[in-house]
Symmetry: C2
Subunit: 642 residues, 2 copies
C-alpha cells in the first residue's frame, strides 16, 4: 500500500498516511485534533483545513456548501471530504482545532516608545491654476515642506501613478504616507485613516507574526504558524543543503516562506477586517539562515567555515520586490545580523533587553532550534551560538509535541511517593484536580520540568542515568530502554502511557550542555566569574520554570530571583523596531558592537562540553541550588553530591 508523508500545521505532527485516506482520518492517526460535529458526514463544515502543498482528491459538491470561492482559491477543504493523494502539508486553522490552541504566541506586554518609520501627513493643496503651474507631486512636496518641515522627498513610482487621480478625488485634500522622512509610499484622498504594520519573527520551526496599529502602537492581532520550509529540512543545515543541492532550491525555499507569510497576512488582516494593503510597514527578524532565505540570498557560505553572512547590516527592500502582499510600495526592514550563527532574531532580543544600557553582567539565552547567547553589559557584549537541537522545543523526544492543547507543560514529582502531577496545555488544573486530563504528549517546558524533577527526586543520577533501585511501577522498560511514566494511559487521549525515556534525558543533556558550554566559554573570555542576571527568551521562554532550568544546569549558577523568562523577545524586538525607527539605528549599532565568539574554536570547548553534560554540572558549583536539590536527594536514600 502506498503511503505519503503528511504534516499538519501548526502542531507540526507528521507521519505516513495511506493513499486515499481522508484528512480527518490522517489527523486522528497522527493525534491532531480537528473539530467534527457531524462525525465526518460532510454536513457540519467545522473541519475546514487549508492545503499548503500537495495534492488532494477533487473538490466535492458537499464542500461547496461550506467553502466559498475565496476560501477555495486559498486552498480550503473539508477534512472529512478531501483524500490524501500525495505528500501534503495541511494547515488547521484555529477555528477548526479541537479545544483551540492555547497559543504560546501571545505577545509580551511591554511598553514601547512610539516613533514609527512610516507616518501620515494630511495636506490641503491649492489647486493648479494658470498662475500656479506646479506639478501635482511638486505641489504636494511644497505643502509637506511648508506644513510639516519635511525635507525634499522621493516618491515611489506606483504612488506617483496614483497621485493625480487621488488629489482630484479628494478635491486637493489628501494624506501622504511617508517612509523615514524620505519617500512618499502612499497617497490617499481626504483625511488619514489608520495604517498598520506587520512584524515577523521567522524561526527555523515557528513563524510568529504581529499586526500592529502604527499610530497607537497597539498590538491588534498575532498568529503563529509552523515555518513552511520545514518540509525542505528540519534544521538550518539541511535547509542550506536544500538550496545548494538543487538548481531551484533557493527559489523554492524562498517562495515557501514568502507564501507562508502571505497567508499569515491574509489571516491576520481578515481577523481584523482589514486589507493587506493597509499594512504599510514590515519588520523582520530571524536567525541568519532564515534571514538570508527570506531575502532570497544564498545561504551557501553560512554553511562553510568561517560562516560569513552575505550582509550583516539591516536591509530595506520594497515589499513588491519580494512578492510580499502587503501594500506594494511598503518597505520591509530586515534587522541586522551579528554573525553567521547569531542572527537578526538575536538583535531583536538585544534591542528588547538592552543589556548595553545596564551594569548587571547579564546572560541572555534565546532558546530555539539553535540557542543563541549574549553576555555582558554596557561595557562589552559578546555573543555565541550553540547547536542545541530541537529537544528543548519538545521535538526529537519520544512523546514530544509542540505547545498545543494536550501537551504536558508542567511536571512535579513527589520525592517520596514518585507520584506525578502534571498540567496540560488547554486544561484548567493539574491532572489530579480535573476529571479527564487527556494528555497527548510533552512539550518543551514539560520536558525541562520532567528531566529536572527526575534529577531532583533522584530518579536519575548526575550523569543522567536512570537509577534501577527505586521501587515504583512508573520506572519501566520499553524495548530494553528505561523510561519513567509521566501520565498513565487512563490520563491520556491516545490510550498509551506517556513517558520520559533514557534517550529523552540524553537529548536534553546534549541541548543544555551546549547552552552551558557557550555561557561558560563566554564568561571565561570576558573574565566574568559570576552572572548577575539570566534572561530566558525564545518562543517558549516564558513557559520555562527558572528553577527547573537551573536544576538542569542550562546555564551557570545564578540567584534564582535574578532569572527571568521574557517570552519571544526576538519577536518583541521586531515589534519594537516596527514602532520605533530609532531602535532600528540602535539595532545596527549594537549588532556591530557585539563581538561574536566561535565556540568550537576555543581550546576548552570539548572539555567544557563533556563536563556540562552532567546534571547540573560535572564540577562547577551551584550554590544557589542549596536547599533545593540536596534536600530532595536526601529523602529517598542514597545521597548524590552536586
Amino acid at each position: 500500500m502506498k503511503t505519503f508523508q503528511v504534516i499538519f500545521q501548526p502542531s507540526g505532527r507528521r507521519g505516513d498516511i495511506a493513499e486515499g485516506k481522508t484528512i480527518i482520518d490522517a489527523s486522528r492517526e497522527l493525534g491532531v485534533g480537528i473539530e467534527s460535529l457531524c462525525g465526518g458526514e460532510r454536513n457540519c463544515g467545522k473541519c475546514k483545513v487549508r492545503l499548503e502543498s500537495g495534492h488532494l482528491s477533487p473538490f466535492t459538491e458537499e464542500e461547496n456548501e461550506f467553502i466559498d470561492e475565496k476560501e477555495r482559491a486559498l486552498g480550503y477543504r473539508l477534512a472529512c471530504a478531501a483524500q490524501i493523494w500525495s505528500e501534503a502539508l495541511i494547515f488547521v486553522p484555529e477555528e477548526s482545532r479541537i479545544g483551540r490552541q492555547v497559543a504560546r504566541k501571545e505577545a509580551t506586554r511591554r511598553s514601547m516608545a512610539l516613533k514609527p518609520a512610516v507616518s501620515l501627513y494630511e495636506v490641503e493643496l491649492p489647486p493648479p491654476t494658470l498662475h500656479n503651474l506646479l506639478g501635482d507631486f511638486d505641489r504636494l512636496q511644497k505643502a509637506l515642506r511648508e506644513n510639516y518641515s519635511l525635507p525634499p522627498l522621493e516618491i515611489d513610482h506606483l504612488a506617483l501613478l496614483r497621485l493625480p487621480s487621488v488629489l482630484r478625488q479628494g478635491r486637493w485634500k489628501a494624506t501622504a504616507t511617508v517612509w523615514m522622512d524620505k519617500e512618499i509610499i502612499d497617497i490617499r484622498p481626504g483625511k488619514a485613516a489608520a495604517i498598520y504594520g506587520f512584524a515577523v519573527d521567522v524561526g527555523t520551526t515557528t513563524v510568529v507574526a504581529y499586526l500592529c496599529h502604527l499610530q497607537t502602537g497597539e498590538l491588534i492581532a498575532t498568529e503563529a504558524i509552523m515555518n513552511p520550509q520545514v518540509i525542505y529540512g528540519e534544521d538550518i543545515m539541511s535547509r542550506i543543503a536544500y538550496t545548494t543541492n538543487r538548481p531551484e532550491g533557493l527559489e523554492t525555499i524562498h517562495r515557501s516562506i514568502i507564501e507562508g507569510l502571505n497567508r499569515l497576512i491574509e489571516t491576520l488582516t481578515q481577523q481584523c477586517r482589514l486589507r493587506p494593503e493597509d499594512i504599510l510597514d514590515v519588520t523582520v527578524v530571524g536567525n541568519t539562515v532564515m534571514h538570508h532565505l527570506f531575502l532570497k540570498i544564498s545561504p551557501e557560505f553560512l554553511g562553510l567555515s568561517p560562516f560569513p553572512p552575505v550582509i550583516r547590516r539591516s536591509f530595506d527592500v520594497k515589499a513588491r520586490e519580494l512578492g510580499l502582499t502587503v501594500h506594494p510600495s511598503a518597505k520591509i526592514h530586515v534587522l541586522p545580523v551579528e554573525a553567521g550563527f547569531v542572527g537578526a532574531d538575536n538583535v531583536g532580543v538585544l534591542i528588547t533587553e538592552e543589556p548595553y544600557h545596564q551594569d548587571d553582567r547579564l546572560l541572555i539565552i534565546d532558546i530555539g532550534t539553535n540557542g543563541e547567547l549574549v553576555m555582558g553589559n554596557r561595557k562589552k557584549l559578546m555573543s555565541a551560538s550553540c547547536a542545541t537541537g530541537p529537544a528543548l522545543e519538545g521535538a526529537h523526544i519520544k512523546y514530544g509535541m509542540r505547545a498545543a492543547p494536550g501537551a504536558v507543560e508542567r511536571i512535579q514529582i513527589d520525592p517520596r511517593t514518585w507520584k506525578v502531577r502534571f498540567k496540560v496545555v488547554g486544561q484548567d488544573g493539574w491532572n489530579d484536580e480535573i476529571r479527564n486530563p487527556e494528555a497527548k504528549g510533552i512539550c518543551g517546558s514539560g520536558i525541562i520540568d520532567g528531566v529536572a524533577e527526575l534529577y531532583r527526586t533522584g530518579l536519575i543520577d548526575k550523569t543522567g542515568r536512570f537509577r534501577k533501585d527505586i521501587p515504583t511501577p512508573r520506572l519501566k522498560r520499553s524495548d530494553g530502554v528505561p523510561e519513567f511514566v509521566i501520565a498513565w494511559k487512563e490520563e491520556t487521549s491516545g490510550g498509551r502511557d506517556i513517558t520520559i525515556s533514557q534517550q529523552d534525558v540524553r537529548n536534553v543533556q546534549l541541548a543544555k550542555g551546549a547552552l552551558y558550554t557557550g555561557a561558560k566559554l563566554l564568561m571565561k573570555k570576558m573574565g566574568i566569574e559570576e552572572l548577575d542576571r539570566v534572561v530566558l527568551a525564545g518562543a517558549f521562554g516564558s513557559y520555562v520554570d527558572p528553577q527547573k532550568a537551573l536544576i538542569l544546569g542550562m546555564f551557570p549558577d545564578c540567584n534564582l530571583n535574578r532569572i527571568s523568562a521574557v517570552g519571544n523577545a526576538a519577536g518583541d524586538g521586531a515589534r519594537i523596531a516596527l514602532l520605533n525607527r530609532e531602535k532600528r539605528i540602535e539595532a545596527d549599532e549594537m549588532a556591530r558592537r557585539v563581538e561574536y565568539l566561535e565556540l568550537t574554536n576555543e581550546k576548552d570547548f570539548q572539555d567544557e562540553f563533556i563536563n556540562a553534560l552532567a546534571l547540573p554540572h560535572g564540577r562547577d558549583p551551584f550554590p544557589h541550588l542549596k536547599g533545593i536539590v540536596e534536600e530532595a536527594i536526601l529523602n529517598p536514600g542514597k545521597p548524590l553530591k552536586i
Copy 2:
C-alpha cells in the same frame, strides 16, 4: 477587396494594402525601399524586416534559412515571404534599407564634461576568517570607504543576491558599479570592464537613442525610430485621448514605447557587440506627454486647462520597474519638465545651450511636432509652447516625407528662369550635377527652403498666394489648386512630378506663424525689442537654412550671422545628463527657474498670430533681410514690399 493599413518604420510611410500582398509588394506601393537581390525569390535573405504589431501569414520554411531562432522570436520575417493578414506596423532595419538611411540622427559633436552618475570602483577585499567576520556586503562597503572615501552605500537587492558568488569567483577582487555615490547597482568579479549608458529623446514622432561609453564619454552608436505610439495617435492630444478613452489605453501606449526602446537597445547593443545588461545608466527626455507616457503616468490632466503635469521635478526609477531591458538594477533618470507643454526635451535643450550663463538675449526654438521656445539670458528665462503641427517635419505636406533617402532637402529657385536646383538625401550632388536624381518627396528642411524660395523669387506673395502671372510651366494646377513643380517626373523615382502646393504653403505659414507669435509674445512680456541670437534646435534643426527660416519669418528679425542650427539639442541634453551628473542638478534648478507663458492667455495672441501668417510678417520690419528678399523680388518684375 479587403485592405489593411500598413505602416513602415522608420520612414513612417503608410497606406492601405490589399489583404494577402507580401510585405515587399506593400513596400513598393508605399515607396519604401527594401533590399531584394533575388527579386522576391526567397533566396537572398536581404529583405529581412521586423513585425512590430499585426498578423502576417505563417512562417515559411524558406525563411528558416535566413532567420535564426532569436530573430524569429523578435518578429523578423522575409518581406518577400510574409503576407499582410491584418493592420501591421513593420520596421525595416537599416541593413535591409535600399541605399540605407542617411540618418539625420547623427549626434552633434559637442565636448561634454565627463562626470557620470554611475562609476566603477575596483576593490580587493580581505577574505573572511574566523577573526574577520564581516558580512560580504559590509566587507565591500568597508573597502569602498577606505579606498575611495565613499559614504555608506545602499545595495540593490538583485546586486546583493549576486554578491557572494561574484566575490568568490573573483577571489575577493571585484568591481562595484555605484550610482550617484548612493547605491551599489552591480558587482562583477575581477577588474573593471567598460560600462555603457543609454540616452533617449522620446519625440512625439521620432525617438532618437544614443549609446555612450560611460568611462570615455564616447558616443558609440546612435539610432532613430518612429515612435511606435504613432499608431495610437499622431499628435499629443490624440495620444492623451487614447489613454483616457480606453481602460487599457495607458498601459497599451506605455508598453508600446517601452517595447520600442527595448528594440532600440537590442539593435544598438548588437551593433556594438554588447549585451543590454552592459547598459548601466539611462537618461530620458521628451515632451511632457511623452514623459508621462514613458513613466506610465496618466496624461489626462495635461489635456485640460491649466494643463498641470503630474511631476515636474526629475525622477529616478529602476529600469526593471518599467520593464526596460537594460541592466535590471540600472536606474533611469528622467529629466524634469518645465510645464504642461514645455517638457523634458526643452530642459535638454536648456542644459545644452545654457542661456542662463549668457548675456545675449537668446531665442531657442525647438522644432518638432510641437514647437517649444525659450527666451532670455542669465537674468531671466521664459518659455512657451506653440502648436506648430507636423508641417515643418515634412508631414501633412503633399509630397512630404521624412528625411530619408530620396527626400529633397535643399531647394534653390533661379529668380529669372525659375529653374529649380535641388539636392536629395543620400545623393552626392545637386540634381543638375548627377545622373539620376530620383527624388521621392520633400522633407522638412526642403519644404522650408522651397516656400522661402517661392517667396524670395516672387512666385508667391506676402500672403502666401501663388501669383498667376509668372510664365513658367512649373506653375500648374492640380484639381484646381495651384502648385509649383520642384522635380519633374524624370527626376523622381515615382514617375510623378513632385510639387509644392498652395495647401503646403498654407500649412507652412500656420506653423511658422505659431512660432513667430510665440517668440513675439515672449519678447513683449520680457520687454525685449531685439534678439541678439537665435538657435534652431530639433531633430532636423541642423538641416534648416537659417536664411530661409528668416525669409519665412519663423521668428523675429535677427542678424543672420547670429542664427545657428544646433541639431537635436534635446537629445544632446539627454547625453549631457548621462555623462555629467552635475548637469542633472542644473537641469532641475533651471527647469524651476524658467517661467512658463501660456500664449493663448495673452490678449494680443489672435492679433499677433494673424499678422505672423504673412511672409515674413504683416507689419514687423526685417532689416536683416535687406539685400536678400528685395533684390530677388525686384528682378522678376512686380515689386513686393516687405
